[in-house]
């Protein structure tokens, strides 16, 4: 008996919910000006309507959002791709924090980064017989190692490292910038 009542109540709620959602598409589709009101006053209704009919809503929302309040919401998601490249300190911090690689691997990588920095130091002090172009090879190799370790466990960091590749090289290749490291 209890179960029947419960099912009945749930069905009633479901029907009531569906009835409320069905009304929204004709309103938004008819005039975009009407759609401004729910977005400004009640964001919850808007989110329900979004889930129901994406095509109708998006076509109606585009003209609404341009003159309205939310022009910053869409460009921010687009800006994520053009994030500022990392510098060496930021890269070091991110590598320390990532869970994609183990402690021993992190220490080994740090050793190899230190070795590379020593090579650059030796080059700038005139102690090394290598050219800057030759130092690019170990740099690229080390970066590839890092990327291969990160690409599965932390693809976001791997992507950021790829974008920062030249920025980091520019720091290493510039004696003035390198001196500040």
């Amino acid at each position: 008996m209890h179960a029947t009542r419960l099912i009945g109540l749930l069905l009633l709620l479901l029907i009531a919910g569906c009835a409320g959602v069905e009304r929204t598409p004709p309103q938004s589709g008819a005039s975009p000006a009407v759609a401004v009101e729910p977005s400004a006053t009640r964001p919850t209704e808007e989110s329900v309507a979004k889930a129901e009919s994406p095509d109708a809503k998006t076509s109606a929302k585009v003209p609404v959002e341009q003159p309205g309040k939310k022009p910053s919401a869409t460009p921010s998601s687009g800006k994520k791709e053009t994030a500022a490249p990392l510098d060496l300190t930021a890269l070091e911090t991110r590598l320390k924090e990532t869970k994609a690689i183990g402690v021993f691997t992190k220490i080994t990588l740090k050793n190899q980064v230190d070795d590379l920095l020593d090579q650059f130091r030796a080059y700038y002090q005139g102690r090394a017989k290598v050219s800057l172009a030759e130092l690019r090879q170990p740099y690229d190799r080390l970066l590839l190692k890092v990327l291969s370790l990160l690409q599965d466990g932390d693809p976001e960091l791997a992507r950021e490292i790829v974008t920062s590749r030249e920025a980091i090289w520019n720091i290493l290749a510039d004696p003035a910038k390198f001196a500040t490291l």
Binding site: I101, G102, F104, T105, I107, T108, L109, N111
Partner: protein, 84 residues
């Protein structure tokens, strides 16, 4: 008495159920860590299949290809893989 036995059995089952996978995950992470270290150091190994802990930061890693390495942190803070 019967209740106690049931409670104890439940505890054992729950402990096995929850700690078993976490230990396995730790082991898998260590194997992966050792594999990465040996590969980074440019040593032949393939994949590390088992690790024996000798001490703090000191392990014996057995590789798929039969090689065995002692992977440890030396006094200078460098990770070293010594062929056994």
């Amino acid at each position: 008495m019967n209740k106690r036995v049931k409670a104890l059995a439940l505890m054992v089952v729950m402990t096995t159920f929850f700690t078993g996978p976490s230990l396995a995950a730790e082991d898998a992470a260590l194997l992966k860590d050792m594999t990465s270290v040996i590969a980074l150091l440019g040593l032949p190994c393939g994949q590390v299949v088992s690790v024996i802990k000798k001490g703090d930061n000191d392990h014996i890693a057995s590789c798929q290809d039969g090689n065995r390495y002692r992977v440890f942190l030396n006094a200078e803070g460098r990770v070293v893989a010594q062929k056994q």
